[in-house]
């Protein structure tokens, strides 16, 4: 069971990494009405139309170890359960974009979860490529993080260094918690 939205993001971002993306952009926007809009865009290998259709089904997978692939269908189900939406657009060799909305007023809406931990584990376990961009916005303000900027400041020191991991964790917590406080947990 995937029990919060940050874990769905972790899971979906893994697809981008597997697709060979060099840039993964995640945007999380909370409206004053309580609609949470999440977009994940990558420049990975993308899918043709038939594969993109199949990806929405639990029985569509590229894997050979078994016949099910649950990541995308579960995220879609959890978005739609709240009355929200899920759209996947992809073009072969150009990348994939996922747009999800969650109505945070719905009793079925999952908590947003630990966005900092999702970002830190994604970044630190892929310190070279892809680059990640996180953009967050809510009626209380906005914040962003771009690993290309961090790499420039670090000038050769890896994003997986323990001190950098701890810096990213603190920075992301400081930046995102005030924006989404109420729906984080």
């Amino acid at each position: 069971m995937i029990w919060d939205i940050s874990l769905h993001l972790m899971d979906l971002a893994q697809n981008s990494i597997t697709a060979g993306a060099t840039l993964v952009e995640i945007s999380i926007r909370l409206s004053s009405e309580g609609m949470l809009a999440i977009t994940l865009t990558d420049n990975g290998s993308g899918m043709d139309e038939a594969m993109a259709d199949k990806a929405l089904s639990p029985f569509g997978t590229t894997r050979t170890t078994r016949k099910v692939g649950l990541g995308i269908p579960l995220a879609k189900q959890n978005a739609e359960l709240t009355g929200g939406t899920f759209h996947l657009t992809s073009s072969h060799q150009q990348g994939t974009r996922i747009d999800m909305t969650f109505d945070t007023r719905s009793i079925d809406c999952l908590p947003l979860g630990d966005i900092p931990q999702t970002m830190v584990t994604l970044i630190a376990s892929n310190p070279v490529s892809p680059d990640f961009v996180l953009a967050c916005a809510s009626p209380l303000g906005e914040s962003s993080l771009d690993t290309r900027v961090l790499k420039q400041a670090l000038d050769g020191v890896m994003l997986s260094e323990p001190e950098v991991i701890s810096w990213m964790k603190d920075a992301l917590t400081e930046e995102t918690q005030p924006l989404f406080g109420g729906i984080l947990q």
Binding site: M1, T65, G69, V120, T121, A153, V157, E161, P162
Partner: protein
Amino acid sequence: MKTLAELEKIRKDTLDRINLRKEDKDDAIRVVVGMATCGIAAGARPVMMAFMEEAGRRNLSQVHVTQTGCIGMCRLEPMADVLLPGQEKVTYVHLNPDKVRRIVAEHLVNGQPVTEFTIGTAEGKTNG
């Protein structure tokens, strides 16, 4: 407030250590955590975070934590492989952050695999 200036300070502080390490690449320890849907749903993210933080706390800068997809044994997730130089791969199953702390102390630091958490022990029990 976290600033980029702090990152530059981190860069200066860690550069010496990193240069030292480059000369001794053979001591790299690899930890590979299963991060497919099954792993994530079973709790792989806090497990990966625990490996990173515990290695950092003990200054084990030769430890590299990376990820892999589903290897087809979803019921045993969260799983991780630990590869020490010159030793056979050890696969740990049903992990949680507490188990990770023991693995870091006993296996990564002292070179003694925590047999009770390995796939051999887990599968031996269910089959036997």
